[in-house]
Symmetry: C2
Subunit: 358 residues, 2 copies
């Protein structure tokens, strides 16, 4: 039986939401009970979060413990999964620096995820220029003013994964190019330094792809208020669901709805994911299309489904949050474990490269 | 009185030669006796050497102890200067990763030293593409196939300097853009994280600029055999001097030589640097120009001057080389010292950034 070492992580830039849950958290928890998984690590990716929040480290700091709580709340068991903080493992930085030699600059510029994110951030604008007081010098050329750390974050991510010799990563499908990059680096290292140290890394994509926002927007974002956080209370969830985007042409209950329009109905998209009674939901959709029921029936059902899902998550979160010293201890223990793994891997890296001098 | 902390280093890619001596080593030794210098560190830059020798780590490994011996031989005193190996200080990698966020990609691409070196290495050719088995994918675009680690080495160099809070760097004039880059990063860090942790770094350029090769070629290189190494024996030095480039139009002793042609005479260029008796050399040049003496007079004088310089260097080298365990101990002690400094600086960096969680 092939053995797996699982590593996952979150950027501590905000509390985690339902999108994270279906994209990755659900799988993380499930992997805790798979017999072929021999090691599990969960990383708070604070260094990665700094690559596009370098000028706002307070935001990163504030959210470190929040994402730990979110993970504990969904069922990450600290006796099964080592929880650690990226910036506390110096070996990850050491590996990053060595891996940087194994990737060309334009390979990184062509990484689809990096490319998309650079475009989204509009990074040829003046923001960076101002931050560095260098104006024309930085942004006068044709090349965009991208922080080098951001360009390099796929390399840093390869180091995050490979320091732990992890070979199974439960993440969203948008992370596929990152795992490809990791595998390229791992095999370049193995080939150049004549070793089989680093494994091939498999990706485990969540059943649901990307969860859309409650307003129907593809992207969930705090500023759009279209997000349901795992830590939202029942009233907030009910309120978000009440405001959800449905079918604009259905004004009164008796209005009928086309298949195409139904497909854009956020309430039913969420019900497909979060309500296990598929038969009931299929019937409900039919009634909705035929003009027999209105929005409120689905919304009530969804509110119930979400709160059923979130109730135990909320109570576990509250329990852990009562004892933050205990949570810190969990993270310290996990970080110590990760440091042990990291130190062992770095010794093997040094040996493979022949830079183990003493 | 302003206090200085000195840091210098060499890439361990070969033994050091006269060019290194006049460019930096001479100053390093002199700085050991300056009362305003409160700390001195010497770094073997193995990680930096790997940025363009990633596929030949054996070359780096072999030369680590050679450059240490060269430095001890010229008079670096391990009781005054901490000698350490870059790859053994993880905090340098940690700082590098954090600093990468403070520089844009195109700022690095515009760094004059990086630009020149990339051009010299011809890095849009197929070499890297082959190394990564990615052919067209890497080099199909217009951008050159530069290893990201190489692009980032000015950032890594900033970390080398700033981890020790060094503020005086004795290097060749070609390193000026690197120190500018370091100062930009230091002041960006101080500004963004509201601290005065990192100092402004001054450069101390050697009296002689770049020493030309014995064949008159601007660049010294092992493959051109135009280099005099500090560890070359007296016979090798004599042989190199005999083969030196002089004045092509002077065939017999009685031929006269123009000022312009004399300026290109390598023997006299070296004598200007390595013979302290300037009056005698001025007279000798005159005789040479007037057709009174030939090449051999200057060459004999230069051989003597060089061997006078190199004799004590050779004997110190031989002495240290007899006890390599002792040399390793020197490096271990220096590395421990550097780790202490590094760990203190990283604590202050974490505090300034607010990522000191425990």
């Amino acid at each position: 039986m092939k053995e797996y070492r699982v590593l996952t992580g979150d950027r501590p830039t905000g509390r985690l939401h339902l999108g994270h849950y279906v994209g990755s958290l659900q799988n993380r928890v499930a992997l805790q009970n798979r017999a072929d998984v021999v090691s599990r690590m969960y990383m708070v990716a604070d260094v990665q979060a700094l690559t596009d929040n370098y000028d706002n480290p307070a935001k990163v700091r504030e959210n470190v413990m929040q994402v730990v709580l979110d993970n504990l709340a969904v069922g990450i068991d600290p006796t099964k999964t080592a929880i650690f903080i990226q910036s506390m493992i110096p070996e990850i930085a050491e590996l990053t620096v060595l891996f940087l030699n194994l990737v060309t600059v334009n390979r990184l510029l062509e990484n689809p995820t990096v490319k998309t994110e650079i475009a989204e951030k509009g990074w040829n604008a003046g923001k960076l220029a101002r931050a560095f007081d260098l104006g024309e010098v930085i942004d006068g050329g044709e090349r965009p003013g991208v922080p080098t750390g951001f360009l390099c974050y796929p390399v840093s991510q390869a180091a995050d994964i490979l320091f732990g010799l992890a070979n199974l990563i439960p993440v969203g499908a948008d992370q596929r190019p990152m795992i490809e990059q990791t595998n390229e680096i791992a095999s370049a290292f193995n080939r150049i330094y004549k070793t089989d140290l680093f494994p091939h890394v498999d990706i485990l994509v969540g059943e649901t792809g990307r969860l859309i926002g409650t307003d129907g927007n593809a992207k969930m974002s705090k500023s759009l208020s279209n997000t349901i956080y795992l830590s939202d209370d029942a009233d907030t969830v009910a309120q978000r669901v009440r405001g959800m985007y449905t079918c604009p042409s259905k004004i009164s209950v008796s209005d009928t709805v086309s298949d195409l329009e139904l497909a854009g109905n956020t309430v039913f998209q969420y019900l497909d994911i979060f309500d296990t009674d598929t038969e009931l939901i299929t019937g409900m959709k039919q009634q909705y299309q035929n003009g027999e029921i209105g929005d409120s029936v689905g919304k009530t059902r969804l509110t119930e489904a979400l709160n059923t899902l979130l109730d135990p998550i909320r109570s576990r979160r509250a329990e852990y949050a009562q004892d933050m010293d205990g949570v810190r201890e969990i993270v310290e223990l996990g970080t110590n474990y990760a440091r042990g793994v990291a130190s062992d891997t770095m010794s093997r890296v040094r040996r493979a490269m022949g830079i183990d001098y003493f």
